[in-house]
Assembly symmetry: C2
């Protein structure tokens, strides 16, 4: 039942997204006005707001579409038996690449993702759940392989990796970690998280 209405709606939404990507890329998010965007998309200003609640929602919708693609790719490919460390680095680095492709996009997206407005909470939680559906199976397998402690909740474990990912992105925005070093930095951090920050308990006795 593809009614005229449905078809038009999809077309209009697509037109908005297309105009948004074009203009945001060309002149940046802040410098693009909704009125201009509407003109580019061939519709009225008000119409934009019947598809998206705020200007940054448009950006956000775009990023989320990208993320969904990315997750599908990842679930399709990444089930392999490579070490958890590599898997995690791969997953988060593909996200990192997406985020850092456009600095302004990325900042707004991360700000909203890490500390979302209350109005966006529901959508946000859905997204997170989708995330967990990607990660949990990988973590379970790793637990089976003995790469992860079994006495920890999966939610906590994802938390550790996600926290370090947030840190990396934050450090990238502040310039502490340049793009080229991001992967090494992330891998180091993840490895340290796996090994633990305190000295191994049973091993050789320290010389002091």
């Amino acid at each position: 039942m593809t009614s005229i209405r449905e078809t038009k709606k999809r077309r209009t939404r697509a037109a908005i997204m297309q105009a948004a990507v074009k203009l945001f890329s060309e002149k940046g998010f802040e410098k693009t006005s909704i009125e201009e965007l509407a003109r580019e998309a061939g519709i009225g200003k008000g119409t934009v707001y019947s598809y998206f609640q705020t200007k940054s929602d448009i950006l956000h919708a775009f990023c989320e579409d990208e993320l969904v693609c990315l997750h599908q790719e990842l679930t399709a490919n990444a089930d392999k038996e490579i070490p958890l460390l590599r898997q995690m680095v791969n997953i988060y680095m593909s996200e990192f690449k997406m985020i850092t492709e456009n600095r302004e996009f990325g900042r707004l997206f991360m700000q909203q993702t890490a500390f979302p407005r209350d109005a966006d909470l529901e959508k946000h939680l859905e997204n997170e759940d989708q995330y967990f559906r990607v990660l949990f199976p990988l973590l379970e397998k790793a637990q089976e392989r003995g790469e992860l402690r079994r006495d920890l909740e999966l939610l906590h474990i994802t938390g550790h990796f996600y926290g370090l990912y947030l840190l990396l992105v934050s450090a990238w925005f502040t310039g502490r970690v340049p793009t080229e070093e991001a992967e090494i930095a992330l891998e180091t951090l993840f490895r340290q998280a796996l090994e633990g920050l305190q000295p191994p308990p049973a091993a050789g006795i320290s010389t002091t």
Copy 2:
């Protein structure tokens, strides 16, 4: 040499901050207009902008003042020889309390702190450095006591704690961690980071 000018400037700045705290608390950040704030402070609208570059800078300045106080307190008190885990939980929990006192304040502050605008980078880096000056001595002491591996850079170690703190705050905003459980959650995460996520290498052989 406290010229009239200096005195007035300090007084005006204080008046703005005072008006901001009052109005933001009463009616929230978004609902308070700069014009109103200026009226409350007894000055013209334009003057506000010769003290702060943007509206949220006012908020941010307030939070930073609070943070400086907090850090001074912490450096004064916290050098004691209690376990690193407790020290870290204390430090980050006092920050957490400040952030979560006012939801809207906290969100904006965290968004700007974790993913700052390029214009704010310099100020941001100064702040971070001040942070390190508080944390590094504590970490060094912990290394001396054998609570922390010595083969890790202090910067990385602070990163681990800070990353988990970001995670906690993010989880609080999404409602996954209620205020009452925050401290336990943070302590758990920090302990896990110290112990490591992978099973201890030398200990008993698994039953499988």
